[in-house]
């Protein structure tokens, strides 16, 4: 391997890893909702779009840095998610219908309404938050004068990644250590048993939907400095979240994190060594492969290893 080839490989892995971290955060929100509610929230990408527009408006009107708007957009999305669960998803759950998955179809509808509302309010122009640091990066040669290869680490991508990691750790702490987190996990494992143990299942479901929404909302704010927004952007992220959820093993949070990283790295490698137009094909190859060979996703692999011990 020549030094340029090594450089390209390492750079590919770096960018795949950074992208994967952000993907994981997007996937986590859907996974948590999936785990507790047993439905795939197909409005997930649209919720992210809403958060991105919140960040955009805050930036354009009040010059608030997109990274700071995480603290505004995430709580806002939490409330939005709770409201959706309480006033839209719950009533539909109670109604008998021909289709058992009518809540899933409902989420598709919610997504469409959100996307169209955004089109009406913001038109379908592409918008960006042109921050000053958008092309800043750290270079290996800045730290190590005679480095044989040159690697760079994008400033906004790294900040986004680090914040995604912090949010994930906070989530883990919340789910593992707090009472409410334990109640949510109990609801996810067995709703009836949780109910009998005195868990307010209805409330937990609303909080979970809010939590899932605020996670993807945070992801939206982290994405906007490196990307752009338009009202129809949601679909592609719903798809990514869906692939990660399947890859991670329907409802497993650790699985989703690993799934996100796998997807990011795999996409980057496909783009470099097969062709950039193939990156999305790679995404679906992984998706189908996961369904066929590991129907339980990463979570099932983790489990079998534990049992093996």
């Amino acid at each position: 391997m020549t030094s340029v080839q090594t450089e390209v490989l390492l750079q590919t892995l770096i960018s795949g890893f950074l992208l994967g971290g952000l993907y994981a955060l997007i996937g986590l929100g859907m996974t948590i909702i999936m785990g507790v509610m047993k439905i795939i929230n197909l409005a997930h990408g649209e919720l992210m779009m809403v958060a991105m527009y919140i960040a955009y408006v805050l930036f354009a009107q009040f010059h608030i840095d997109p990274y700071l708007s995480v603290f505004i957009a995430a709580p806002a999305l939490f409330l939005l998610g709770m409201a959706i669960q309480k006033f839209l998803v719950d009533p539909v759950l109670k109604v008998d219908s021909i289709l058992p998955e009518n809540q899933v179809i409902l989420t598709v509808g919610i997504g469409m309404v959100l996307a169209n509302l955004a089109t009406i309010i913001f038109t379908s122009d592409y918008r960006q938050t042109p921050v000053d640091y958008s092309t800043k990066a750290w270079y290996l040669s800045d730290f190590w004068k005679h480095a044989p290869i040159e690697l760079s680490l994008s400033y906004p991508w790294s900040v986004s990644f680090v914040m995604a990691v912090i949010i994930t750790v906070c989530l883990w702490f919340f789910l593992a250590k707090t009472d409410m987190g334990k109640s949510i996990r109990a609801t996810a494992q067995d709703q009836d048993a949780a109910l009998m143990m005195g868990v307010n299942v209805g409330r937990m479901r609303a909080i979970t939907f809010g939590l899932g929404s605020s996670l993807v909302g945070a992801a939206g704010c982290l994405f906007i400095p490196i990307y752009y927004i338009y009202p129809d952007i949601g679909g592609q992220f719903t798809l990514i979240a869906f692939v990660i959820t399947i890859l991670g093993g329907l409802g497993s949070t650790v699985g989703a994190i690993i799934g996100g990283l796998i997807l990011g790295i795999f996409e980057s490698l496909t783009a470099t060594y097969v062709g950039m137009g193939w990156a999305s094909v790679g995404r679906f190859v992984i998706f189908v492969a996961a369904l066929v060979f590991f129907p339980g996703g990463v979570a099932s692999l983790l489990k079998t290893r534990k049992l093996g011990k």
């Binding site: 750079q11 592409y126 092309t135 752009y228 338009y230 009202p231 470099t272 990156a279």
Partner: protein, 398 residues
């Protein structure tokens, strides 16, 4: 309540009928299909504003043969099937005798097929794919240059100034991107004698161009030539700057590289990027400067060639309608065929040559971003500023 409603309905229908009649008497209705939402909305917006400005001007001077132009727009969101449906309606229901508009090549292709089938002239304003005017269509006219010639000025700039030995071609996987890349590949081999060391496509809406740029670094081309619409152009340049992928020159094939948003979005990463274009506000065509200045005072930015072409298109339509024996599709077609005028967009004359039909051939230009401004740099006799070459490497810039 119900009765009151139906009375109201009848009244409004009757009123609508009379308004319609009055309308028909002294206006010429022209509905233009455009992408006003979706990914291509930015281009649609520039064109819509320009059509409106042209209509205003024509109407202020008495309209076309005493009839005022009543413009309206239909949003195709850049989807060929929608564009097709809109135009079918315009021709079949509204009996509009001439179709103008659309933007993406895919949409223009769909519209051209409908127009030809229904024997209604169609004036293409800014769609570049070569195929559209090589189908032996009789009713399809195109006033902008074809993709094969988009980069003519750029190629001559490369040949005379940069003299590249190797070139990398990156393109978006759309009709426009694919044909633009194919044209550059040919030019590189035939006119420049340069080797194409990398030809890669990327999907529309891609986030991360680093893998692609990694390949560029590996191939070490003298020139990186990219054909894409708006956002990808900006992201690509930003990431090229960040990764410090060095090349003697970054060049773009019009579209996303030639609109003001390119500089707004890519900021300092846009500096020194050279792009092909069909028109610039600095050109000395009659009315070009006035149009550009008026557009700027109204909307804050100079228009791109898309707008200039749209603006001129209405004057072409006006000219054709004034010279047509009657306002039937066939007579308008004959008048368009005979058109030979000078507009703010340049000379317009539809000719059959090199395998194209009803195609306008015009000189193209090359622009460069210098101090965050587009400057015309090639051909030299039309230039507004001297080109900057050699371009400083990313490392040497602050």
């Amino acid at each position: 309540m119900k009765k009151g409603f139906s009375v109201l309905l009848v009244l409004s229908l009757v009123a609508g009928f009379f308004v319609g009649l009055a309308h028909a008497a002294n206006t010429f209705d022209l509905t233009i299909p455009l992408p006003l939402t979706g990914k291509q909305a930015k281009f649609g917006e520039i064109m819509k504003r320009s059509y409106e400005m042209a209509a205003e001007e024509i109407n202020a001077k008495g309209g076309i043969k005493g009839k005022k132009i009543a413009l309206s727009f239909e949003d195709s969101s850049g989807k060929p099937e929608t564009a097709r449906a809109i135009v079918e309606k315009l021709i079949d229901v509204k009996k509009q005798p001439i179709i103008v508009g659309e933007y993406t090549s895919a949409c223009a292709k769909a519209v051209a097929a409908v127009a030809e089938e229904r024997k209604t002239p169609y004036l293409i304003v800014a769609s570049a794919d070569d195929d559209i005017t090589t189908q032996n269509y009789k009713y399809v006219f195109r006033q902008n240059a074809v993709n094969a010639h988009y980069a003519d000025a750029l190629v001559s700039f490369l040949k005379d100034v940069v003299k590249p030995k190797t070139i990398a071609i990156l393109y978006e996987s759309s009709a426009f991107g694919t044909s633009g890349a194919a044209a550059m590949e040919q030019d590189a081999q035939k006119k420049l004698g340069a080797k194409v060391v990398l030809k890669e496509k990327f999907e529309t809406g891609a986030i991360d161009f680093r893998p692609l740029l990694g390949k560029v670094r590996e191939a070490q081309p003298d020139v990186v030539y990219t054909v894409s619409y708006a956002n990808e152009a900006q992201l690509l340049m930003k990431q090229a700057k960040e990764l410090r992928v060095e090349a003697k020159l970054y060049a773009g094939g019009a579209a996303g590289f030639a609109i003001p948003e390119f500089i707004d979005g890519a900021k300092d990463a846009a500096e020194y990027v050279v792009s092909a274009t069909l028109w610039t506000p600095q050109l000395k065509y009659p009315g070009a400067k006035e149009y550009a200045e008026r557009y700027k005072t109204k909307y804050g930015d100079y228009p791109s060639y898309h707008g200039a072409s749209a603006y001129a298109a209405l004057f072409v339509v006006k000219h054709a309608l004034e010279h047509a024996k009657s306002w039937t599709p066939d007579h308008i077609r004959a008048a368009l065929k005979a058109t030979d005028i000078m507009t703010s967009f340049g000379p317009i004359k539809f000719s059959d040559k090199d395998g194209y039909q009803n195609q306008n051939f015009m000189p193209t230009l090359a622009i460069q971003v210098i101090h965050q401004q587009f400057q015309t740099i090639w051909p030299e006799k039309l230039s507004s500023a001297h080109y900057v070459y050699p371009v400083p490497g990313w490392r040497e810039r602050k």
